[in-house]
Symmetry: C3
Subunit: 351 residues, 3 copies
């Protein structure tokens, strides 16, 4: 693809030779003369001078520093994403059902079911859907057009997956939520009685779900993931959670049952959101934060702990157990100092 073709298709201002043919995307450090790269974070500016890339996508204020052809865009990373998608179209998979697959529903001729996959009865599979090796799709589940399940994905019965959804290996959609009632008395006191989980998981269009992420089915109502939500790997979503459109969740996040996350939220790696909370639209939660109450207002929220060299940590963090005592001692000191300052002959006004 030539640079002028790229600009014709995606806009931006081209500075340099439009005839240059670009074959692939690459990083500033590794890109060669037939590759295009990008500079989005000013922090990596010094790498620009030494790049061997054929062309660089960058912001207007960096254009002068480019040692090579460049495409100027207000959002270089987004522009780069478009070019990268264009140069790396999804591999065309064979269509049809592999002889080792077991399929108990009708499948469109344009869809692909790979080796060893299993599709139960009454499933609805969309046009051009691709179902990887070893996937299991339960009875009555629905998979939208152009959806892509990588290998070894499990979809439980009755769940609905939207168009163009991508699900990575090991993800499990629709397992039972964690719902049990506790016996209070009798021989079984303390034992748990299972609550049947009869809701479903409903996943909108253009969602991506990372490897080994789990999204539980609802207890009575459904668990709902709106359009365009992006999940990284190893995320756990409890029953009856609702996640608003275009939110993005980094790896290892946990969202407990019946929590509601707004639209366009971001959640950093390893953060945990407790059950039944409501998080507003456009909330950004930092990595490692435990969200233990609702957040009614957009903004950035953090509860992460700084780390220290271990001996420093021992010295400092032991005081966490005495914070209340420290606060009491400060209060007592304030009272004493006030008294000292107001004794006859003390110029109280000075304070």
């Amino acid at each position: 693809m030539r640079l002028d073709e790229i600009v014709a298709r995606f806009g931006g201002e081209l500075i340099g030779d439009g005839q240059l043919a670009i074959q692939q995307v690459a990083t500033l450090e590794r890109a060669g003369p037939t590759e295009i790269t990008f500079l989005a974070n000013p922090k990596y500016r010094e790498k620009l001078g030494t790049t061997n890339a054929g062309a660089v996508i960058l912001a207007p204020e960096m254009a002068k520093e480019s040692p090579t052809a460049c495409i100027v865009s207000a959002n270089p990373y987004l522009y780069f994403a478009r070019v990268a998608q264009c140069l790396n179209p999804a591999a065309a998979l064979a269509t049809g059902i592999h002889p080792s697959a077991t399929v108990e529903s009708d499948i469109p001729a344009t869809a692909c079911v790979a080796a060893g996959a299993y599709i139960g009865p009454r499933a609805l599979i969309g046009e051009r859907a691709r179902i990887g090796p070893g996937c299991v799709i339960g009875a009555g589940a629905e998979l939208g057009a152009d959806a892509l399940l990588h290998a070894n994905v499990t979809i439980y019965a009755g769940c609905k997956i939207g168009a163009r959804v991508i699900i990575h290996s090991g993800a499990v959609i629709g397992a039972d939520g964690f719902g049990f009632a506790r016996q209070q008395e009798g021989d079984d006191a303390g034992a748990w009685l299972k609550i049947p989980q009869i809701g479903r998981v409903l996943i909108g269009a253009d969602v991506e779900i990372g490897a080994n992420t789990t999204i539980d089915r609802g207890a009575l109502d459904d668990t709902v993931i709106e359009d365009g939500v992006k999940f990284d790997n190893q995320i756990q979503v409890g029953h009856n959670v609702r996640i608003g459109a275009h939110s993005a969740l980094a790896g290892c996040v946990g969202i407990a049952g019946s929590a509601t996350l707004g639209r366009r939220c971001t959640v950093g790696g390893g953060a945990v959101i407790l059950g039944h909370l409501k998080i507003a639209d456009d909330v950004n939660i930092s990595a490692g934060t435990l969200v233990a109450k609702s957040i009614p207002k957009a903004g950035n929220y953090t509860g992460a702990l700084p780390f220290l060299e271990h001996s420093q940590w021992l010295k400092n963090f032991a005081h966490l157990r005495q914070l209340d005592t420290m606060a009491d001692r400060i209060r007592a000191l304030e009272a004493q100092v006030k008294m000292l300052a107001t004794m006859p002959g003390k110029p109280e006004d000075e304070f």
Copy 2:
């Protein structure tokens, strides 16, 4: 099922028309005239007035507020669980071995082995056990009567799973524990030598294991999960852990090797219990807590961090690194104030 039949079977006091036929369970908000719901948490009391449910299960003190038929029970949620189970019996699965499964052991005629599953030699499979598509059961493993493995579960060789155990997709039982000895000297200094993990996982009856949860086999002795323990999704249990009967662990919990958890404990989401610790019976650990020493006494324990709006967090949490200095400064102030107060002419007694 009619209301009078429900009360005849499960007890409780019926207020209203016993002839009403109930078809399903539902939430207070969504339930319709042929559905039964429950009110367990007084917080949701205001939803009671507007429910369209055919009947509500609730506590004695709420009975007067019910706009519709109700069943009065001291533990409405437990009662609801019983009704829900009754109205939602486990789907009757086909018995027999799917032709695409590979089975190298004898299987009872009442059991079911689904498409693509693999069962190794010398396995013992109980009556009416159901083994989902793509499951793998290693050589010599045992699966109790009425156990249910959802799709793509892996059981390593030699592990024993009790009666009526439910295991969700992607769970892995019996992988090697994390045991390595470090080379201290020579060319390989720093390299790790694997300790063969020759113990097993022994899982009692009525345990439920969530999606993508992993329970490692013991190094020398066994990892033991007692009866009735409930695991949510994505939990990691290290080698030689022992978990007491009827404990319940929420999603993303990690329990390091050789830790012992008592009976009827609860562990909140994302909590971590370090290795070799002993946790007493009836201990409740809050979400996000890192348990770094043993807990010899029943009770509730917490080590979670509050979160703040990000700029507030920056301002407040930076002081964590200076807590020791803050404590020193308070001590110094106390000494100074004491000296000021005891100087000639100062009425020390006032403090």
Copy 3:
């Protein structure tokens, strides 16, 4: 294997009858007369006196206390690892391709492909590699000699796995990294555009990867795991991470994209390392620590929170939100006390 044979092979000093035949390894508590055990941690010293083991591997300073034959070694645990490996050789697996597997590449006659596995085209499989039931290996992937994939492992296209690597069930190697560019304006404002992930995962020799661990492929360059790294279960490794040789990571660790971990590092359970950070060689990070900035120097680092009985936690940790105010109050007190102390007639020098 006789004790004198063990010492002849692995060194150390034998005290006792060299003719004793040892059949298995076991713990101090459980070992019987034909079993060998070890004592590495002086904390368990008191168990030595009552052991029924045939022999004990222990350090020189403990040799006198042994009630039975012993092998004296400077590093008893490492010595034990060697003996344990010797007594527990890997099970000899059948070679060849199971008829239910689907294999689209050439496989060496010494390799084993178990039931239901799938190997795509152009894969390179090493001599004696063992591929468990239900594994999926993508097109063009490479698996080194003597590598062992337990059941239901997924390797995406193009990834390279070194010799003698062990991967446990449910692990996913090479899923797409979490890379998206955000639309800033227009109807799609807030929506995410996928960045194709065209890098690979390159895994060195002698690496072990725990159950349900996920290692993402690189965005543009590769994700690299050097020789001898050991991963526990449920670890998440983001795109373009690099992990130095002989590092060891405990369960539930998360490493965000483009982070670099040095050689011989250890990371405790549930710790999180944020993206783009650089961690030096020989860094030890404690369990539960969130690493939010680079660590340029070897050492031990911790950021974990102590836990308390819940009511104590409530009382103490609420002050975390007022730490900045507490610091201000201490500063004000210091100013006041200084002023009081320096007023005419006050002996300032005393402080």
